[in-house]
Structures are given as C-alpha cells and as structure tokens.
Symmetry: C2
Subunit: 113 residues, 2 copies
Amino acid sequence: MTAPAPSYYKHHIFFCLNERTNGEVSCGPHGARGMYERCKARVKELGLAGPGGVRVNQAGCMNRCQGGPVCVVYPEAVWYTWVDAEDIDEIVESHLKNGQVVQRLLTPPHLGR
Amino acid sequence: MTAPAPSYYKHHIFFCLNERTNGEVSCGPHGARGMYERCKARVKELGLAGPGGVRVNQAGCMNRCQGGPVCVVYPEAVWYTWVDAEDIDEIVESHLKNGQVVQRLLTPPHLGR
C-alpha cells in the first residue's frame, strides 16, 4: 500500500514506557521515561524536531516485552533494544540525524511478548 | 532507507490520548481512550492482532493537535482524524483488515500543532 502523501515525520520514534505490576517484564522499570526524555531533548538540541523531521513519542506497551526496553522508528519500522544513555545518543546521532541504522541495537526479530 | 527486516507488525496504529490542561486543544478530551479501546477490541475480535498483523497502541501527544483527535498507521504513515465510533470501525474494517485507506478521514497535511 502506498501512502497518499510523504510521511509527515521523516522519523517518528516511539518509546514504550509501560510499567507492569504483575511480575512480567516490561520496559518502564528500565528507566524508559528518562531515556525518552533524553532522546527528545537531544533531538531538539540538534534542530531535528518537527514536521519533515523527527518526532519523539511516548507510547504504551508495544508487546515486544521480551526484547525490551524497546523503541521503534517509523516509517522504516526499525526496532531497537537499548541499554543505556549511550545507546540513545547513538540512535539519535546515527539513525535520526544521519539515517544510518544502528545494527548492534536491533531487537532480535523473534522477540515478542 | 530500507528496513533490515519486514515490519514486525503489518499495521501499527497509534492513538494520541494526550489531555492538555492549559486550554490548548488536545485529543484526549474527544474520548480518545474509549476509541483506542474500541479499536483494540475490534482488532482482537477479528483475529487481526499480533506479529505480522495489527497492533493497536496508545501514545502521547503526536503534535498534530490542530488535526485532532488523531491516530496514525505505520509503516504506511497514514494519519486519520476521527470523529466517532463509526469512523474507528471503518478504519479497522477498511484499512487494518483490508488495506484500503479511508480517504474521507485523512488528516489534512498542513495541520500540525
């Protein structure tokens, strides 16, 4: 299916901030909110934010908890499993700024909930 | 840029559930949570949910408030402005089930925050 117009955002990145309280793994307890905020601030500093550029978004559970903490970049549908702030900075610099996928952080394709 | 693998979800739809309290327009007060839940339930009933299928997600502000209430379907980057439950049902049936964009609900391209 072809989109009727170019993507409103060149890169739209969603961070799962979900916190489960039933003992199942989830992204929130890994510090997801802080990493979302770091990503958003860095994108703004670099002047990448806005229509035709980058949007950094918070999201609920994206059901890939076993690969968490995760974020996903659309429209290219690239999923990342991040560990720390350095990973976030690399995603911003390499992918969101320069369009290069960070291979070492890709979520293994078989990991779902 | 080419994704390194097929999109994990065929259609990943995000609903803005943001509620502003500063007087600016936002999606939440239009009943976004209920519509998100309706969409999610319907997708599940139709057997569309899961990897390779559809994921219905809640999200924070996607900064297209003037076009709200909005949802966006990725990886095809199609934005919708919905009004009521019939609109949601049409998005599910036409787009998420049959891959046909619902032209009448497309968010006007110039509408941002």
